[in-house]
Amino acid sequence: MVERDHLIRRGIFRTVVIILFMILVGNIFVMMVPKHAYYKDQALENRQVRFRVRAPRGLIMDRDGIILADNTYIADITVPKSSLGSSGPDSTLIRLIKWFDLPREDTLERLRQQKERGHGGALVLISNASMPQIAAIEERGRQLPGVRVEARPRRRYLFGELFAHVIGYVGEVVRADLDTTGDSTGYRIGDMIGKQGVESALEDLLRGRSGTKLEEVNASGRVVGRRPVWLEDVTSGKDVTLAISLALQHRMAEAIGERTACGVALDTRTGEVLAAYSHPAFDPNLMTVPISADQWRALSGNPDKPFFNRIVQATYPPASLYKPVTSLAGLANGVISTSSILEPCLGGWQFGNRYFRCWKRSGHGLVDHTQAIVQSCDTFYYQLGLRLELDQLAAAARSLGLGRVCTNVFADEASGNIPDVAWYDKRFGKGKWTRGVLLNNAIGQGEILVTPIQMAVLTARLATSGRTPDPVFVISPHRKAEPPEALPFRESDMAWVRRSMELVVSDGTGKAAKLDSISVAGKTGTAQNPHGEDHAWFMCFAPAREPQVAMVIIVENAGHGSSEAAPVAGQWLEAYFAAGDSLPGLPSPVTVNGRGH
């Protein structure tokens, strides 16, 4: 006999149990039948993780095959995307932040941004991790599911400052560069991109193509599969060979020393840039990882502007270096001959109500055309300028390579300024300026502006009667140089200019660049600088009769070209002709450091 109370309780108990079991079975049913496909996918995804493998960037070598920029590997510590949920970081992430003593809010904000923008699989918690940090992760791997140490190529510039402006540097992509189309070849968060110089100009060639692989992982996110499945192969970047020679670049830097200066040397036969150095420079290795605040302050606060690439960005008046151009314009337009003698120099020239001074206050007396170049007589050129039309002078300058961008490497290259009638009309208004500007233009002052690389081209074209092509920074992969347009000057006039420039070095203002065994042709210049001491110019080519090399030096705020720039050129030329391939004391590659978060 069963008691009545027990029958009621039995009913309640049964009902509760059956309801509970129905909830369980119903829930299991939903998971296993309608949502089966979803969980099936999840199960597969669990085991396979997609890794993006960055391509190693192409090497950059000097003309002799010496490596100037290569790649090392640095380690990033990454956490899975899911570690930063909508409601905040998970316990693993919090633990890591505490361990490594990272600034909590900054770090989380940085990761949040990565998560928003990135396409990649993981978030980079610590970029360029130190050995102790890596060891800490590897030791505790089991307790840190999903946390990985990922190797990533890092660019290394073996000669640091020496090529800072020519090679430039790489840095992390910014938002504008990021790929938003999902194209597998696009840039992703954390990718490196060339920011300056050759790195930027040849980005497409150097970067290669990243690949994608599937790896089997275990529960804590460690890779366990022996062989990854490659969905896309990694294609390494192409190597690039520069025209620059490490040895000659080094000599250029040595010759310039601590001056704020810039030197460019071209092979006159091919237009290849043998050396191009701007000082002060910076260590590009600092730029490949987030730079520390102190280092950044030191660099950006330097009044001599280390980031300023004087080779192509700085513009100066060409000053007396322009006089051969004025001469050639006069000769080509028949307003003067190579042996003409103009009014004597008494220390200047009166034009209208203004007296234009010659640099030599006591005057040069009677000088012929040749002596005018050799002694750099301003008075002679004031008179010559007045015989010319402004556009005739401008055309002569342009034919020699001035007034336009002449490289295809530097995005921020300045084009300088070769003013003509139209320019002055636009600047001052039609009829609001006088032929007086011709006096200034004739001696390379006034509104004329040139870059050092343009002056190097001009020098080379004077040396080869215009056969030197535009500057070539990269010799491999080879790009056929456009043959320059023929110069509108007679060959005899060109030869006369070269002889005059030879005399400048042997007897005139350029004696400091004289070599014992090789004759050098050159021209000094002193660019007026309204902001301070004048800039010292020197251009030259050698050997004078069979030119191989042309170079230009400008030393800022130094004074006269004859005393300040010519010796620098002489020192470099000596090294160039000493013995190209057996130069003692080549620089050894620098050790790369510079570590950041």
Binding site: R10, V17, H36, N46, R47, G85, S91, A219, G225
Partner: protein, 423 residues
């Protein structure tokens, strides 16, 4: 009585059959879990050691012995020794808390040579016996609510000791068994309403506090209680008490929350939002759901489950073994398994009503509540319905103590089933 019957338990044949089938399922699943993984990862992930399977075979044999013994020992004898047995296990629980070895951050084990015993498992058996003793005697002697209070104090001792180990899951088992047995004894409806609504109040306040971060869900609940109290027929005093206990539990929750261990808070928060810690404490819950969901109607092929294969399922041979069942045997396998448990439970409830002596009835209900709580909570955890806490699936999860105690309890149920009014 034939000679063979000596080797078979007495009592309900269906319950015994369910025990046999559940043990076989357990061995089959453990064999699969301990298989090295087929495919290219043999050397890399050998799975769980094969020894786990063989040890479970050994414990199944021992468990059968326990089942046999428990089904045949005279119930009256157990009634008489219930109190000393219970005191002995309480002593053991206190003993390991004081001098037991700390393993994995907890003092749960009594270590005798190579054998690790969990006194808390044994305590489940003696607790059922002692409660059945107290409540049974109260029925015989016609006493009421006082016996229920005494049994509550008796329950509080092992519950508190186990909570200190710490082992939240197991300590809740004592509470659940007590609720089941006292319900059977006859619990005043008002008290039941009070306890139930207070618990609900606490849960809702918790939800308001930690997840919604707004007070209105709990406010709404209190409003609902007021409406219910208005319509219900009760003394004013009872109504005031009910309201007070609801508000008290609700307001008390934030203080209780502060008392919880960090990892416990984390687990509860993660329960409400597993994605907040996909690789931390939410990891087990997510992986377990993935395993079960990927099983489909018929399961991925036995011995070839993908989740267990690369160790995505932690605790896969112990507390989370149900997810392996789901993955490998599919929906039908899981339903069969639950059906076997349901058979034991429903038939057990019958014996709770039809057993000849009150002691036997309460033993039956205690055993049934034990199985109900373990199965429902364990499966709810593995399917993501409850926050993760360590609780094995009876007879299926690997572990000697679990198998031994579950078999012992089923033996007791079989014993009770052989002494009913019907036979």
């Amino acid at each position: 009585m034939s000679y063979l019957s000596f080797f078979f338990p007495r009592g309900d044949r269906w319950i015994f059959l369910a025990w046999v089938l559940l043990c076989l399922i357990s061995l089959a699943v453990l064999w699969s879990v301990t298989e090295p993984i087929h495919g290219p990862y043999n050397q890399l992930d050998p799975g769980v050691a094969k020894g786990v399977f063989y040890r479970q075979v050994f414990w199944t044999v021992i468990g059968y012995g326990a089942l046999l013994l428990a089904s045949k020992v005279p119930l009256r004898y157990l009634d008489n020794v219930a109190i000393p047995l219970f005191l002995f296990t309480v002593f053991l629980l206190a003993f390991i808390l004081l001098v037991g070895p700390r393993i994995g951050g907890a003092r749960r084990w009594l270590v005798i040579g190579p054998i690790h015993l969990q006194p808390s498992e044994l305590a489940k058996v003696t607790f059922i016996l002692v409660t059945a003793n107290i409540l049974g005697r109260a029925v015989d002697e016609g006493r009421g609510i006082l016996a229920a209070l005494v049994s509550f104090l008796v329950m509080a001792v092992p519950m508190f000791l186990v909570l200190r180990e710490p082992d939240l899951g197991t300590s809740l088992v004592f509470l659940a068994i007590w609720v089941g047995m006292v319900f059977w004894f006859g619990f005043p409806g008002t008290l039941l309403l009070g306890a139930g609504s207070a618990a609900l109040s606490a849960v809702i306040m918790f939800y308001s506090e930690s997840v919604a971060r707004e007070a209105w869900p709990w406010g709404l609940y209190v409003l609902l209680i007021l409406v219910v109290l208005y319509f219900i027929r009760l003394s004013i005093l009872s109504k005031v008490m009910l309201l007070a206990i609801n508000i008290g539990f609700g307001i008390g929750i934030p203080f209780f929350w502060e008392k919880l261990q960090g990892y416990q808070q984390e687990r509860i928060l993660t329960f409400f939002d597993p994605s907040r810690d996909a690789f931390g404490s939410g990891y087990q819950a997510i992986q377990s759901k993935v395993a079960i969901g990927s099983g489909g109607l018929f399961g991925t092929h036995y011995l070839q489950g993908t989740q267990k294969g690369l160790a995505f399922l932690p605790e896969r041979h112990t507390d989370f073994i149900f997810s392996v069942v789901g993955e490998e045997l599919g929906f039908f396998g899981a339903v069969v398994l639950l059906g076997l448990f349901l058979t034991i439970i429903l038939r057990g409830i019958d014996y709770g009503a039809s057993a000849r002596r009150p002691f036997g009835r309460f033993v039956a209900v205690g055993v049934v509540t034990y199985f109900t709580f373990h199965v429902v909570v364990n499966v709810a955890i593995t399917t993501g319905l409850l926050p993760v806490t360590g609780l094995p699936l009876p007879l299926i999860s690997y572990g000697g103590s679990n198998l031994l105690v579950s078999s012992l309890l089923l033996g007791l149920l079989l014993n009770v089933s052989s002494r009913t009014f019907e036979n």
